[in-house]
């Protein structure tokens, strides 16, 4: 039985590529392939998947997708069913609705199968009406170059109208032809690949360049192509390092910005700053859960948009409460604020631990912050990082506006510089203090929203960032927002440029030592106040 099935498949495999554009298979053939998916061994399944991929049958796409998503099931009598998102079942071949007697077993897949499913899907979608699908298929083909695939690519190329897709197809075709026994074709293919910076292509060319048995002309061409690619990649890598540095910098910036208010402007050594960030992250979690529980899935992506003001309000309110309840009794006694805020931080951590439990909470990236886009050379710019960079600058910009352009900002600064005199000038110091601390805390809360998108949401979240935050604010120069920005970005970029050479740990050590040395030259930080006013 098994042997027989395999035999059929083999025949199909040989014949089908020639018929790729055929509208589809007879139901019986399709049914046979589909039955293979429910086979016992992985080898059987793979043969069936490859068969489906080669079938060109539009129905195969849905079946394979369902298989990959774990939505394909089999009944006791080996009928293969597709489960819809609403939990209904339908026969995979006929599409007829089925109500299975017992719960059908999900057909399991593993990575090896997933690889084949992707390959098969890419073949099938090479002719999809959606250019996006076709582009994906072409890229997939580039990453799995095989001479067998060339005829299909040729066909697709002939029919292709979209320039981008056509270019991708050409590249994929060239990649497949590199190993062509025909020396001329191979050489032409290598030349064509010179323009690519794809790491897969690079690897392919590397193989040719290192292959002693290969045609010397091909080797030479491959070598020169490689040199070109490497030059381009070096540049790209520089840019990527810069991006990563800015990205790390923006994380530091966000972590530090609230502290730049509570510590930088108000002078409160706020050891509970990290916990404000944590509160923001937990607020994000709660908002997310609320969205999941009460709103349709289509709105889920907006949960983050709601989280930002929510986190600002929650952390800000806690900040105001702390200021009114504790901090305000401690102005002019920075040491005591250190002690009290440390106590606050312990309590907040344990409180969150008691309410939400000690383990991490899951906070999902909304789809618009998931994944990334590849730039040259296989490097990926991830959306969440990009959004966070933008967010960091936006928050800083808004804060600068508040502090520089509003009366509240003026009053905040006046109050911290001379509380008594500010009161005499008619500034309601109590309210300004509460608002300032609330603002700093609220900003920390917003940072928590951003940080929940790249790291842990746990009761310890704050302790991770507190040291770095102080480092950034002080390094930049206490009281200077520009300094905070420069400090954060500087440290981020330097760190990321060191990391490739020194590794993560040594890199960080170097950065710390650099800070120590740097402070010797600028004892009051990067953007220090100079002159008499600094001493006052």
């Amino acid at each position: 039985m098994k042997v027989f099935r395999a035999l059929i498949l083999a025949v199909l495999l040989l014949v089908l590529p020639l018929a790729v554009r055929a509208a589809g298979l007879p139901d019986a053939d399709l049914a046979k392939l589909v039955a293979g998916l429910a086979g016992d061994g992985f080898d059987d399944k793979i043969a069936a998947i490859d068969g489906l991929g080669a079938s060109g049958d539009p129905r195969a796409v849905a079946i394979l997708k369902a298989l990959g998503d774990g939505k394909l099931a089999q009944t006791e009598n080996n009928q293969v069913l597709i489960e819809s998102s609403t939990g209904q079942f339908a026969d995979a071949v006929t599409g007829a609705a089925v109500t299975p007697a017992a719960d059908p077993d999900r057909i399991r897949v593993n990575n090896r199968l997933r690889g084949h499913i992707e390959g098969a899907l890419s073949r099938l979608t090479l002719f999809s009406p959606d250019p996006q699908d076709r582009l994906k298929a072409a890229t997939e083909a580039l990453h799995r170059p095989s001479l067998d695939g060339v005829p299909a690519l040729d066909q697709a190329l002939a029919a292709e109208r979209d320039n981008t897709v056509a270019a991708a197809l050409k590249l994929a075709r060239a990649a497949a032809l590199v190993r062509s026994p025909d020396a001329d074709k191979s050489l032409a293919a290598i030349k064509e690949l010179t323009a690519s910076s794809d790491p897969q292509v690079r690897a392919l060319l590397g193989e040719v360049a290192g292959d002693r048995g290969a045609d010397p002309k091909a080797v030479a061409a491959a070598k020169s192509a490689l040199a070109g690619i490497d030059r381009r990649l070096a540049l790209v890598e520089l840019g990527v390092n810069l991006f990563q540095g800015l990205s790390l910098g923006s994380v530091l910036l966000l972590a530090a910005i609230g502290l730049a208010v509570t510590f930088g402007v108000m002078g409160v050594i706020n050891m509970a700053h990290g916990e404000m960030i944590m509160l923001g992250a937990y607020t994000t979690f709660v908002v997310q859960e609320a969205f999941r529980a009460f709103l349709p899935a289509s709105l889920f992506d907006f949960y983050l948009v709601v989280s930002v003001p929510a986190a600002f309000l929650v952390a800000g309110a806690v900040g105001v409460a702390l200021e009114r309840g504790i901090i305000r009794f401690l102005y002019g006694r920075p040491l005591e604020t250190l002690l009290a805020t440390w106590g606050i931080s312990l309590i907040l951590q344990q409180l969150v631990r008691s309410i939400f439990g000690a383990p991490n909470k899951e906070v999902a990236n909304p789809s618009w912050m998931t994944g990334g886009f590849e730039i040259l050379g296989g490097f990926t710019i991830t959306w969440n990082r990009l959004v966070i960079i933008g967010f960091g600058f936006a928050v800083l910009g808004a804060l600068v506006l508040v502090l520089r352009r509003t009366n509240l900002g003026l009053h905040m600064r006046a109050v911290t510089q001379n509380r008594k005199m500010a009161a005499v000038m008619g500034i309601p110091t109590d309210r300004v203090d509460a608002l300032t601390f609330g603002l700093g805390s609220g900003i920390a809360g917003m940072a928590g929203v951003a940080l929940s998108q790249i790291g842990n949401v746990s009761p310890n979240l704050g302790t991770i960032y507190i040291i770095d935050s102080f480092m950034v604010v002080v390094f930049g120069g206490v009281g200077s927002l520009v300094g905070t920005l420069a400090g954060a970005m500087g440290l981020g970029v330097v760190n990321k440029f060191l990391e490739p050479f020194a590794g993560a740990v040594l890199g960080k050590i170097f950065v710390l030592v650099a800070i120590i040395i740097f402070i010797q030259f600028r004892p009051r930080g990067l953007f220090a106040l100079k002159g008499r006013s600094a001493e006052a």
Binding site: P359, T380, K496
Partner: protein, 403 residues
């Protein structure tokens, strides 16, 4: 009082390790609760003495001393990180206490006062790599060993490197990288992995990244588009509990190797999960391997106490050898005379729902090696605490003369 038996629970409830360890504290409490409901032990009530060593290693030693000397506990369930175990080890040996250690670790140890119910490297790391080398696992040729810089990953990677080389993997196809505890900015590391993986050979990442660093690591993996079909990541410290803190939609297919997964179907496991949900009063809480190891350890200890008729450490220790427990993994775990377990090894793939699908498992339990056969310095070392060896670290039996 004389009508209670005290047992110590030495897991961090605050600090960085609380994330993982609180669950184990709850597991012990659940087991105690269960035991007391069934009438206790030797006719006495069992009382758990919980302390918080606060993720502070010296404090672990101090609290261990307090538990044994002041509270006179009969046994201690505790520790997660290897360093905490190393820190308390001298205390347990000095005061002749008994520690059950439930976490997978690097091996290279066998103390008369510790029973190790987590996996040794040969029960986790080696099988996982073997799986990836197999056809089913994708015939991986190139390896990234990514770990947190401390003893467990270092040891595991050292053993793995020796193993891989013994299988003919050339040095240039192995990349080892360490990051510190709590590392959070994985951009460069993940980009490097991508680069390493794009050399045309099938590549896998073996992750011994521990603790807090995992969430940002996986988020970065997902966002930079490292797919399990291209470059699978197999982890030894990421279980259901860790996954509960990560959005797994984009991680489907990445792997973990353990001796237990919550998704395993058998009646023991069903009961275990049910008991857990009832105890913790939350149906969403998952179970994981260290919890199962705690479960096994606790069961074995109660059985040994019953058998010995006392909680006396000497007697209980003797009774422990050969102790069998029907484990939630579906297999029978056995305590060996090297103070380590025989347990099955399972490889699971991450699913979108935060659970693992077992894609491979051993046919039978594997016996843990306290000393690795792949390391030169471990040549000839034997851990066997019964006559005539009576030793955890010897090349000749202590009582050879009696033979």
């Amino acid at each position: 009082a004389d009508d209670t038996i005290k047992i110590g629970v030495l897991h961090s409830l605050s600090g960085t390790m609380a994330i993982s360890e609180t669950t184990l504290k709850d597991t012990v409490l659940m087991m105690v609760d269960d035991l007391n409901k069934k009438g206790g032990l030797l006719g006495k009530k069992v009382e758990a003495v919980v302390v918080d060593p606060a993720s502070n290693w010296p404090l672990f030693a101090e609290k261990a001393r307090e538990l044994i000397s002041k509270d006179h506990v009969a046994v201690v369930f505790g520790c997660w990180t290897s360093v905490s175990r190393k820190s308390v080890l001298p205390v347990f040996e000095e005061l002749n206490g008994l520690l059950f250690y439930p976490v997978q670790y690097e091996g290279e140890e066998s103390s008369n006062n510790v029973f190790y119910t987590g996996a040794a490297p040969n029960q986790q790391a080696i099988p996982a790599v073997e799986y990836l080398m197999s056809k089913e696992g994708g015939e991986v040729k190139r390896w990234v060993l990514e770990g947190t810089d401390y003893v467990y990953p270092r040891t595991t990677n050292k053993i793995l490197e020796a193993f891989l080389k013994s299988k003919g993997v050339p040095a240039e196809d192995i990349k080892v990288n360490y990051t510190p505890f709590g590392f959070s900015d994985w951009q460069t590391e993940v980009a490097d992995i991508k680069k390493f993986a794009s050399a045309g050979k099938k590549t896998a990442v073996v992750s011994t990244v521990n603790g807090d660093a995992n969430v940002p690591f996986y988020k970065e993996l997902a966002n930079q588009g490292i797919k399990a079909t291209d470059t699978p990541v197999v982890a030894f410290s990421v279980g259901e509990e860790e996954l509960a803190g990560i959005d797994t939609k984009n991680l489907v297919g990445h792997l973990a190797a353990w001796n237990y997964f919550e998704s395993v179907k058998n009646s023991t496991n069903d009961a275990f999960i049910k008991k857990w949900h009832a105890f913790i009063k939350n149906d969403k809480r998952v179970t994981n391997d260290p919890m199962e190891a705690t479960y096994i350890g606790f069961k074995m200890w109660t059985q040994a106490v019953l058998q010995a008729g006392t909680t006396d450490v000497y007697a209980v220790r003797q009774a422990m050898y050969g102790q069998k427990v029907q484990a939630p993994s579906g297999f029978t775990a056995v305590m060996n005379t090297n103070h380590h377990l025989s347990k099955p090894v399972m490889i699971g793939e991450i699913q979108a729902n935060g659970q693992f699908d077992v894609v491979w498992q051993t046919k039978a339990p594997i016996k843990a090696d306290a000393w690795s056969p792949y390391l030169a310095e471990d040549k000839g070392k034997v851990a066997d605490w019964t006559f005539p060896w009576a030793c955890g670290n010897c090349t000749a039996p202590k009582y050879a003369a009696f033979e």
